[in-house]
Symmetry: C2
Amino acid sequence: MTKILDCTLRDGGYYTNWDFNDNTVDAYIQAMNVLPIDYLELGYRNNPTKEYMGKFGYCPVSVLKHIRQNCTKKLDVMLNEKSTRPKDFSALLKPIVGLVDMIRIAIDPNNFDRAVVLAKAVKAMGFEVGFNVMYMSKWQTEYPELLTKLGMLDSFADLFCMVDSFGGVTPEDVTNIVKVVRDNTKCPIGFHGHNNLQLGLINTITAMKLNVEYVDATILGMGRGAGNLNMELLLTYLNAHEGMQVDFNVLGDVITAFTPLLEKHQWGTNLPYMLAGANRIPQKEVMDWVTNRVYSFNSIVRALENRKNNAVDNAQFPRLNVERKFDKVLVIGGGNNAVEHKEAIKEFIAQEKNIAIIFATARNAKAYQDITIPIYYILVGNEGRRLTGNVGESKFNGTCVLPPYPRTMGTEVPAYAEKNTVELSAVVFTDQYKDSVTTIALQLAMNLTDGGIFVIGYDGYPGNVLSEKEVSLTNENKTIFNAFKEARGEQLKSLTPSLYRDLEVVSVYQYI
Amino acid sequence: MTKILDCTLRDGGYYTNWDFNDNTVDAYIQAMNVLPIDYLELGYRNNPTKEYMGKFGYCPVSVLKHIRQNCTKKLDVMLNEKSTRPKDFSALLKPIVGLVDMIRIAIDPNNFDRAVVLAKAVKAMGFEVGFNVMYMSKWQTEYPELLTKLGMLDSFADLFCMVDSFGGVTPEDVTNIVKVVRDNTKCPIGFHGHNNLQLGLINTITAMKLNVEYVDATILGMGRGAGNLNMELLLTYLNAHEGMQVDFNVLGDVITAFTPLLEKHQWGTNLPYMLAGANRIPQKEVMDWVTNRVYSFNSIVRALENRKNNAVDNAQFPRLNVERKFDKVLVIGGGNNAVEHKEAIKEFIAQEKNIAIIFATARNAKAYQDITIPIYYILVGNEGRRLTGNVGESKFNGTCVLPPYPRTMGTEVPAYAEKNTVELSAVVFTDQYKDSVTTIALQLAMNLTDGGIFVIGYDGYPGNVLSEKEVSLTNENKTIFNAFKEARGEQLKSLTPSLYRDLEVVSVYQYI
């Protein structure tokens, strides 16, 4: 009979920084006690890490004790092989002897030999020990040595878990790989599937029909990137097809307990994760793009398509060549003050003999359609579409400027603008946020003038409560403005009102 | 080569009443023109229906003309066999000759013979004709005659599409059923999968490997209940595994166009749909429960579990037996005014010698914990849990009253209350909202007294903008209050302020 391992807290923690509130955890443990689940993987034991990890990123002894007292199922925690050596065990494992039953080790196939040493030390402390080895879809092609070494596990390991890291394996792949693994080791086999292609269930059922000893799933499929096989789906299927006893009211309770987290973090598959899964692109990066940053959906899809085609970028353009410098450059952001004060700004521009404007975003371009000085449009992400929406082919009369080649998220330039598009050679004034429209706009401004650089339409966000996206954009712009100050020796000047304290506001009205 | 049919507008219309705005439709058609999709199923042609159906529920000629002019792919619309006779064709089909290429007919297997007559008439008008036959998972067991009749299609039909109505078939089922169908007809075969068990992709791929001629999918899986196979998943898979050319930027565009609808309607699978799929319970009912009504998640799961176990209900209790009637009965709703005015209400109660109170919901029960007259608690849906939360085992001292047996959503009574639980024999004063707590409370009140019935805590919802749930509950209560008036010959009286005009507000303060 295949054992079922629930790793909701461990794998779901990628969305919550491994913090779950006590009510959620209590509801989880209560339900797990009743449901036909054999192991609970609670989180990681970790050496101190740079980035914040919450309760279940460390699984302190007090937490494990509390759960051990309240839980009737076997417990396990995970170690990252990469960051754990046997010398760490006095701190990481000795205090939890007797509290957890199994230690699973997350392993890059390249480090398999080192992992065997680590695992033997784990076993010697009295734990069951499991191998969670990544990239199963590449073992046969890129890591054939791994397979020949699996016999080393026979003498001591309790679990060799095959991890579908990319979420791209098919039932046929599962069948092939289980067979190869079986041929090479007597160690019990596990399967940990991801759900990028909605194949989590069928892959797991396929593995179970091949009599693997362990399968993993999580409540609501909560897990890194596209997430895992949904535990409720696995149990519903096994109830209907294999007569497994399931208390659906209890299952409903734990689903209810995790639903607010799903509503908040919105994990699950979508086109970017599907593309990543089908083409073996790591979850981590796609998850960063999808969840943390302001990349548009389309730019993620474009970047993934480039990756899939092994293209560093999908287009290359001539480099910017500055023949003649301007006296002044005005950078126009997306804030409403650029429209509010447009008459004054136009008067300011009209006074100047040798000025250029740069639209960091084309959002406000309509308000300045009637001016006839050199215009530059920054094209990052989906700005090409915005250019088409706000300016369009008939009114376009300027130069598009791209970040340096190759661009992480690929390149999209409207066809009518292709002849008038150049790319920067390099971004030199900052190492951060190199694909921000503001970074590119300011670098271009510095390339175009040795004189004054002004911005308008960088309004900042009012109010006490900012959205995550607003906070993120505010921090990004602050960092960029400070880098500008470092590079130029003076604060960047805003001609329109701004809440950014890192800008020096010098009212446009004093100049006209 | 299998043809791909996109039925986003037709099947997704179950969530939007078949209305999609022009921008969405234009973006859809533009993308479909570029993507490797062969047929677009745009909606239904329908005789006038009682319930509202929007644009794509009727597909008016003007709409089809517009799309025909802008679309390079084959088009089809669906007819419901059940509601369509050949005599309707002069209105439904004659005007669209030349505008659509195929007519698909949705068919209950019981009506197969009648459908053949209809389909031949369709074919005679020059259309391709497709059969969409429901309940494929039951054909071999419950409709074996259907299979023997499939030879009738050979002479004229262009498509026999197998519909996984419950979303419960597995790849093995697909393999078996395709084989049986092939053995019985030369007609091209199609497969229309639902995604309750996240098996949409693997079932469809399985069908394609068996060389079926057509498969269906929809953008973002938009479709009735748990929805369909996601078109973006199918195309991503076929691109990676079969080298199909896919423009992912265009695919991204159409995903973006439909994402606001997904955010609004939140289709997709979840535990209720999984249970329904795995146990062959029709989508329609579950979708009504999940989307339209105020049933809690847990009561849906309980109802489905009863259905799965072929139980009409999971528990039965003695019937209410009224030995002695009360002079007055007070029904307490969940509104805040029942707490606001509790001192006055308690004074009112104390004046009475022979009064009972009924908690329509236990929400306000805490405020009345100290009174010592007969108390009844209405248990509908998850009120059992609310009783435990607000009263609890130690303070419970009353009678629980259930709706008449059997209860649609099943029964949940806390263990400590089981001995003091009864059920109503019947609800007689109204035919509507028979599982509303207010209906049950008022029926109980009428059973308990021939004297005065009062309510408190039916506050109504203030403000100009009510949520859908508030509007729905308001309408429900209005209907119930009016039925009460019909039955008793006088308006129901509220002792606390209320926005319901169907209540007669008689201030509690005039009585004390």
